[in-house]
């Protein structure tokens, strides 16, 4: 009896994990699916009606256009981060969902890769939701802005791995506050979303370069203008490398929590 014939193949194992998350997500479609469309509305209204009068242009673009390019990516970052911190922690510690899934022919690797791909898919969906709203207001170049979906997926997977790593470190759910306030909020402000990084003091600039979000944002800005330059390749390489590395650490640490 060869082992390949017994249990389901790798792709099906990973996808069945993805499907479980998808099924639970669409179960509450209104409360899960509507906010991604509402959030950019609020943001654009706030900037357009209020701040836009004081800050008119940035990098030769109307400020609202500058901001609109980055917003799909931060949406992807936040949704992946929530999914793989609070979401994962609840599945792990409170609902014991993973205990049940791991009793099926699914390995810890399959489970966590399914988890990361799901967070990436949510990143894709959230960025496209933001782009849709922005397109209605004509603040993003269409159809090029649809490429934000791809960057949203990559950003989602990247922040899924970092967030899973954080989840492997915490002992209570409240400790995630440090991650959100101490890591994600600064990332939002210092990764080139709200102002160009050139404006930062020279000493701080290298720090911004290390921030993973910086690379996603730079990538989406270039793609939105239809510039497929070498810089896009460098940023892609950074994102891929960061995701693989953080993913390996996260899986290794979470394995110890899942398999005694």
């Amino acid at each position: 009896m060869s082992s390949e014939l017994l249990h389901p193949p790798l792709r099906r194992r990973v996808m069945s994990v993805w499907f479980r998350h998808y099924r639970v997500y669409v179960k509450s479609l209104v409360s899960n699916g509507l906010p991604p469309f509402l959030e950019p509305l609020i943001f654009l209204a706030g900037i357009g009606l209020g701040m836009g009068k004081y800050v008119t242009s940035m990098e030769n673009l109307p400020y609202i256009v500058f901001l609109a390019t980055g917003l799909p990516i931060t949406a992807a970052m936040f949704t992946a981060a929530f999914e793989c911190t609070f979401g994962t922690f609840i599945r792990l510690e409170f609902d014991k969902i993973y205990d049940g899934m791991l009793a099926a022919p699914i390995s810890v690797n399959n489970l966590l890769i399914g988890e990361i791909l799901w967070a990436g898919s949510k990143g894709l969906f959230f960025s496209l939701a933001v782009v849709c709203v922005e397109a209605v207001f004509g603040v993003v170049p269409m159809p090029l802005a649809l490429l934000s979906g791809i960057v949203g997926f990559l950003t989602g997977t990247m922040f899924a791995t970092i967030s899973l790593f954080i989840t492997s470190l915490v002992s209570t759910i409240n400790q995630f506050n440090f991650y959100f306030t101490g890591f994600l909020s600064p990332m939002f402000f210092f990764s080139g979303v709200v102002f160009p990084l050139d404006n930062l003091p020279p000493i701080i600039r290298p720090v911004a370069e290390v921030f993973p979000l910086t690379h996603s944002v730079r990538m989406v800005r270039l793609l939105d203008r239809g510039r497929l330059t070498g810089q896009v390749g460098i940023d892609l390489l950074f994102i891929a490398g960061f995701t693989v590395l953080a993913g390996l650490f996260a899986i290794r640490r979470l394995k110890r929590k899942l398999i005694q």
């Binding site: 082992s3 249990h7 193949p9 994990v17 499907f19 639970v24 179960k27 049940g100 022919p105 390995s107």
Partner: protein, 307 residues
């Protein structure tokens, strides 16, 4: 392959705690094997090692084969051939009964065509047919338990692993679950379970292994264990003051006394002798009955709490 599970010298250590100490046993195909012991005896740990939720110690050398495969290196095949009913409910609260089973049918890689038929079949088997669209939150404890058992049977496993399957359930549900497990075993399923209910072990297990502090104390068929290790009858006296009314003159050699915290037990093979021993005690103050697995359990694992 005669044995579904073969364990030899299996150990598991958590930090400084030795949860399982050199445990050896075999579970023949189509039998029901029960791990019996007080809380913290290492039953659940042993169970988890079978389906690779927990990895046994590397040293000293030991062997654990499930369907002839080592869980450490072949977890997926073993999990594919096994169904697991964990101690804690882990159903998806947000989904209904049917959706919960659909999710798992995918995890087991079942084909689209076989899923619906099998789920309907199992809901009927577990007497949950009318609950297919009910939310998990609205199910009683007994229904949840039955649903988890149905979930574990989805892919027609050859080994069913249950961790305290009826803890906290009412007698009706317990008997229903025992009936179903007996039926499954007759159909050829191998069952491995843990329990601290003696009644449960007696009702459904062909073999029980009594463990305490991670070690095997004894192993055998429930009835045989009782017969070989205990007298046939026991006289139970509640409250120490009852002792003063006893007919001490009848205290003969064939009777063995065992003092519990507030209960004194006399064991013997002749119920008449035990009854006369009670002397002038009123009917409500003593009780003569056949010995059962619980007596054996208390005798081997101790009368007092060990936590």
């Amino acid at each position: 392959m005669e044995n579904v599970i073969a364990a030899a010298g299996v150990c598991k250590t958590y930090g400084s705690l030795q949860a399982v100490k050199s445990l050896s046993f075999t579970v023949p195909r189509s039998s029901c094997f029960g791990l019996l012991g007080p809380n913290g005896a290492g039953k659940t740990t042993m169970l988890k090692m079978v389906y690779a939720k927990c990895l046994r110690d590397q040293a000293p050398p030991s062997s654990l084969l499930v369907f002839g495969k080592d869980p450490g290196t072949n977890e997926l095949d073993i999990k594919y051939l096994s169904g697991v009913v964990p101690q804690e409910d882990n159903l998806d609260q947000e989904l209904n009964v049917w959706q919960n089973l659909m999710i798992y049918s995918r995890l087991y890689g079942m084909s689209r065509s076989s899923r619906e038929k099998r789920i309907a079949e199992l809901l009927a088997f577990m007497e949950l047919g009318e609950k297919r669209n009910v939310k998990i939150k609205e199910l009683s404890g007994g229904m949840k338990r039955r649903l988890i058992i149905a979930r574990a049977l989805l892919h027609e496993p050859r080994l069913l692993i249950l961790d305290e399957p009826t803890t906290g359930l009412d007698p009706q549900v317990r008997h229903l679950i025992w009936d179903k497990l007996r039926q499954l075993r007759r159909e050829g399923l191998t069952i491995l379970l843990t329990t601290h209910y003696m009644e449960e072990a007696f009702q459904i297990c062909d073999t029980v292994l009594i463990m305490h502090r991670g070690e095997k104390l004894m192993e055998g068929a429930p009835q045989q264990l009782i017969e070989s290790k205990l007298e046939r009858y026991v006289l139970e006296l509640r409250g120490r003051e009852a002792l003063t009314h006893m007919d001490a003159s009848r205290h003969d050699a064939g009777v063995r006394r065992d003092d519990g915290a507030d209960t004194v037990r006399y064991f013997g093979n002749d119920p008449g002798v035990l009854r006369s021993l009670a002397g002038s005690l009123g009917n409500g103050e003593f009780h003569v009955r056949e010995t059962n697995l619980e007596d054996l359990f208390l005798q081997t694992t101790g009368n007092t709490l060990d936590e």
